[in-house]
Amino acid sequence: MRTRSHEPIVWSLFGAGGVFAALLGTMLVLIIGILVPMGLGFGPDAMHYDTLRSLFGHPLPALGLAVVISLFLFHGAHRIYHTLHDLGIPASKKIMLACYGSAAAGSGAALLLAGMLVVF
C-alpha cells in the first residue's frame, strides 16, 4: 500500500498563485513600480494615502489584495521548496515547514491587515 501524497493541497495553491502571477503580475509590477513613480499615465497624486485608504476600505479590493499576496506566497513557497531539493538541499519536514509555514503566516498577516483596513 502506497501512502497518498498531501501535495494536492499545496499544488492547488501553487497553481492558483501561478495563474494570478501570470495574468496580473507583470501589469501589477509595471503600474506600481514604473508607471506611477514615473508619472506615465498617472498623475503625481496617484496612489496617495487617502485614495488607497478609501479604496481598500471596501471589503472586496482589500480581500482581493490579501488573496493575491497569499497566493503569490504559496506559489513561491512551493517552487522554492522543490528547487532547494533540486539544488541539493534534500526535501525534509523542517524545510517544508519553513517554506509553507512562512507562506501561511504571510497569508494570515495579509488577511488580518485587510480586515484592519476595512474596519478602521
Partner: protein
C-alpha cells in the same frame, strides 16, 4: 540467484550544467523567488497603509528611488518570464480539450492564454487608472 553485479552510480552534483533545458527549468523555478519577494513587498505596503499616512509615505517614497526601479525591473522580467513559461506548459496540465470532435492543438491554447494575459493586463491598467 546470481549476486547483483558491482555497479557504478554517477553523482548528481551540478547536474544543471549538463543540459540547457535544466538551466531554463531552474530559471523558470527561480522566478518564484521574485514572486514571493514581490508579495512581501506588497505586504509591507499594506502594513504601512495600516500604520498611517507617515509610514505609507515612506513606502510610497521608496518607489521613487533607484533601488526600487531596479527591483521592479527585475520583478518585471521575472513575472514576464514566469507568465511566458506558465502559458507554454499550460497545455500539458489542462485536461484534453476537444472542439467539434478534434483535440485543440497546444499552440492554440498557448495563443489563447497570451490573449488572456493581454486582456487581464489591460483591465488591470484601466482599473488602476480609474481608481488610483
Amino acid at each position: 540467484m546470481t549476486p547483483a553485479p558491482k555497479t557504478y552510480v554517477r553523482p548528481m552534483n551540478r547536474w544543471w550544467m549538463r543540459h540547457p533545458a535544466y538551466r531554463r527549468y531552474l530559471l523558470r523555478e527561480g522566478t518564484s523567488v521574485m514572486v514571493a519577494a514581490y508579495a512581501l513587498f506588497l505586504l509591507a505596503g499594506m502594513v504601512c497603509l495600516v500604520l498611517g499616512e507617515a509610514a505609507f509615505n515612506l513606502w510610497r517614497g521608496f518607489l521613487q528611488s533607484p533601488v526600487s526601479v531596479i527591483f521592479h525591473l527585475a520583478a518585471l522580467a521575472a513575472f514576464a518570464f514566469h507568465a511566458w513559461t506558465w502559458f507554454k506548459v499550460m497545455p500539458l496540465t489542462t485536461p484534453p480539450i476537444r472542439f467539434r470532435g478534434r483535440s485543440v492543438p497546444d499552440r492554440m491554447i498557448f495563443r489563447a492564454a497570451l490573449w488572456a494575459w493581454g486582456i487581464a493586463s489591460l483591465i488591470l491598467l484601466v482599473l488602476a487608472m480609474r481608481f488610483l
